[in-house]
Amino acid sequence: MAQQILVAAIVVIAFAVSAWKLAPARRRLRVLMALDGWTARHPRLAGWREQILKPRILRAAGSGCAGCAANVGVKPHHPPR
């Protein structure tokens, strides 16, 4: 039984990781930003926010100007009409 529970947990985590890795960069950034807002209200998570979350957000935001949620209205690569 314990073996089956462990395998089930591994499979659930694998599904979650696959979904996260295959999600578009913009959606991942939005999730990270939401997580940033939530952790900001919990001082106990300040260390995790600074050391783990912040570099991830910077990496996600730096993945290209169109990959950044802050640039959702900017269309720098649109073909000329």
Binding site: V11, V17, G62
Partner: protein
């Protein structure tokens, strides 16, 4: 995000012409390891890094794409200009501009520096590659240059430890407090008169600082007379590529055998130490049989990249671009497409992004559409697996037959790309000719540190893929291949009754005409995430199909004994076009800002792959 940006006390932008050493300087300042290479166009988007100032405050440093002027002709140049002008939504204008100028080719960089100075932002000029400039007899009166420009001028050697110390001292935030942080409000793009005036100013500054041009190197001229020769140059290029693919098979054999033996031992030890059950099956068939099957190909990928990195560092690649310009122009491609297409041999994604350096939209679109036809490193495990399984490892004259087949597959990808570009040219009609303007860098010996760093980056990328997305997908596939359990009295292998087995049986109808069995059909589905996942998926599927026999780590002999030569060749032909890579399609959507082009790309690649596999399967089947 705003909070994170606000924490930096000073935002510093590195700006300069292509290949002047901005990214090397960025790496030196931030301790980052961004890709650097001895050719222009490596950086096509802004990159950010941090450095702590002497007073403990944070400096945010931006590495901008190279640009020859603030009147951009390409997207990457426009990014550099927009960041300097503060036009990018999440990036306020920098508080300090470090204008990086290659001291060896001072006039080109200084022209841009004069333009940037007119923006009115605080500026420092980093005179980079001073060591090479001194060796080649370049004379510059640095103090006079600082006086003429009215900004601090600091000599740097970005590739040398301690080579940017003077610059680091000059960018302390305390020195730049109270300076303006926005570009001059009335700034406009240069008119013809402005450009003329800049040229006059440039001549004046060069005369004042006593600039003398670098001495020509005789051996460089001799090399160029051979490597840029229309016939000898092409022969050398083909020979270099040929040796590279031979080495991929010949040199990698021993380390691959070691990894393979390690995987087999690990599978046997895991099976022996755990009681039979789902955990043992997951670890042996899913994790070791799946992710382990991909890991075996690490040595081949590293050998391929060793060659590519050495060629990059030596300064040979822009020469290859020059050689191929005429041929590429003949099929309607811009000469500027060479670097993006070359990048696509590592992965189509940076290649597609590097197409930003191409000025015309039509040329850029053609390059984007054919980039996935360049054989990316993710396809190498698939090729290597099938070639090792079905092509005998014997010599044909002085050549290794397996290496010969691999070379042919790479050439097939290149030829297909040229044909597609030619067809697109005819569909799109006449286009404006866009000449290749490329600054040929100096030759240099590949730097051992750069090579090791580059290889280490590839190891990290590969291992993070194997340990991340590939491992996760293999576990998902193991689950789909194991459940639901077979009904009472079932006689076939359990996988046939699972979700994956049923999906494979359905897909087999579609793929049977091109010779794919249900195991291959299943493997193509997770291969949508990344192409090399198909190898891991085959490992898992065959391990699960083996009805009790452990085949983890033994995928190659299973394929050799159960597949026909026609099926293997058909799958190889499929992977020359390999329409399945979701990440590539997502980047095409982002770069073209439209769903139309990724859909067209997926459709045409699928059609080409299917037709090529069909023809290959029928021809080889009739012949074998």
């Amino acid at each position: 995000m705003d909070a994170i940006v606000a924490e930096a006390s000073l935002r510093i932008a590195l700006v300069g012409v292509p290949n002047c050493g901005k990214t090397a300087l960025f790496n030196r300042l931030t301790g980052s390891r961004q890709k650097v290479a001895n050719y222009p166009g490596v950086t096509v988007e802004r990159r950010e890094g941090e450095r702590l100032a002497a007073d403990g405050r944070a400096l945010r440093i931006l590495d901008l794409p190279g640009t020859y002027s603030l009147t951009p002709t390409t997207l990457d140049e426009a990014i550099a200009r927009d960041v300097l002008l503060g036009r990018v939504a999440d990036a306020p204008a920098p508080g300090l501009v470090v204008c990086v100028v290659d001291a060896v080719h001072l006039p080109i960089g200084l022209r841009l520096a004069l333009e940037v100075k007119r923006l009115g932002l605080p500026m420092v000029l980093a005179l980079n590659r001073m060591d090479v400039a001194e060796r080649r007899g370049v004379k510059i009166d640095i103090a006079r240059l600082a006086t003429e420009l009215g900004v601090p001028v600091l000599p740097t050697i970005a590739v040398k430890r301690g080579g940017a110390d003077a610059l680091i001292d000059a960018i302390q935030p305390s020195l730049w407090e109270g300076h303006r942080r926005v570009a001059a409000p009335g700034w406009q793009e240069s008119s013809a008169e402005d450009a003329e005036q800049t040229q006059v100013d440039l001549r004046g500054v060069l005369a004042a600082v006593g600039y003398s041009a670098p001495q020509e190197s005789h051996w460089m001229a001799r090399f160029d007379s051979v490597l840029l020769h229309p016939l000898y140059g092409l022969l050398v290029l083909v020979a270099v590529m040929f040796v590279m693919f031979q080495a991929v098979f010949s040199w990698a054999e021993a380390p691959m055998d070691w990894i393979d033996a390690g995987m087999s031992w690990m599978a046997a030890a895991t099976a022996a130490s755990l009681p039979a059950g789902p955990l043992s099956s997951l670890l042996v068939n899913g994790v070791i049989g799946g992710a382990g099957a991909v890991l075996v190909f690490l040595p081949q990928i590293l050998i391929l990249f060793l060659f590519i990195l050495a060629l990059e560092d030596s300064g040979y690649l822009p020469r290859a671009a020059y050689l191929l310009d005429r041929m590429m122009g003949g099929v309607g491609l811009s000469g500027r497409a060479f670097i993006p297409l070359l990048s696509s041999f590592a992965c189509a994604i940076p290649g597609i992004m590097a197409a930003r350096t191409i000025p015309g939209w039509r040329d850029r679109l053609t390059t984007i559409m054919i980039a996935p036809l360049m054989t990316c490193s993710a396809r190498l495990p698939v090729y290597a697996l099938l070639i090792s399984a079905l092509i005998p490892a014997r010599e044909v004259g002085p050549f290794n037959l397996q290496g010969l087949v691999l070379f042919t597959l790479y050439v097939a990808g290149i030829v297909s790309a040229l044909v597609v570009a030619w067809v697109m040219k005819h569909f799109a009609g006449a286009r404006q000719y866009s000449p290749l303007m490329l600054e040929l860098p100096d030759y240099q010996w590949p730097h051992a540190g750069n090579l090791l760093l580059g290889l280490w980056e590839r190891v990290k990328i590969f291992l993070s893929r194997v340990g991340g997305i590939i491992l996760a997908l293999m576990i998902v596939l193991w689950f789909l291949s194991s459940y639901p359990a077979p009904p009472e009295g079932a006689t076939g292998p359990p996988i046939q009754y699972s979700f994956a087995g049923r999906l494979g049986a359905m897909l087999e109808y579609l793929f049977a005409p091109i010779g794919f069995n249900w195991q291959i059909s299943i493997a193509l589905v997770p291969g949508l995430a990344a192409r090399e996942v198909a190898v891991g998926a085959l490992g898992t599927v065959y391990a699960m199909s083996a009805a009790g026999d452990d085949v983890a780590g033994q995928l190659q002999p299973v394929i050799a004994s159960t597949w026909s030569l026609a099926t293997a060749c058909s799958l190889l032909a499929w992977y020359v076009f390999a329409p399945q890579c979701l990440s590539t399609l997502a980047v095409v959507k982002r770069e073209t800002n439209s769903w139309r082009y990724p859909i067209i790309m997926a459709a045409y690649l699928f059609a080409l792959a299917y037709v090529a596999s069909f023809i290959t399967y029928r021809v080889v089947g009739a012949w074998a």
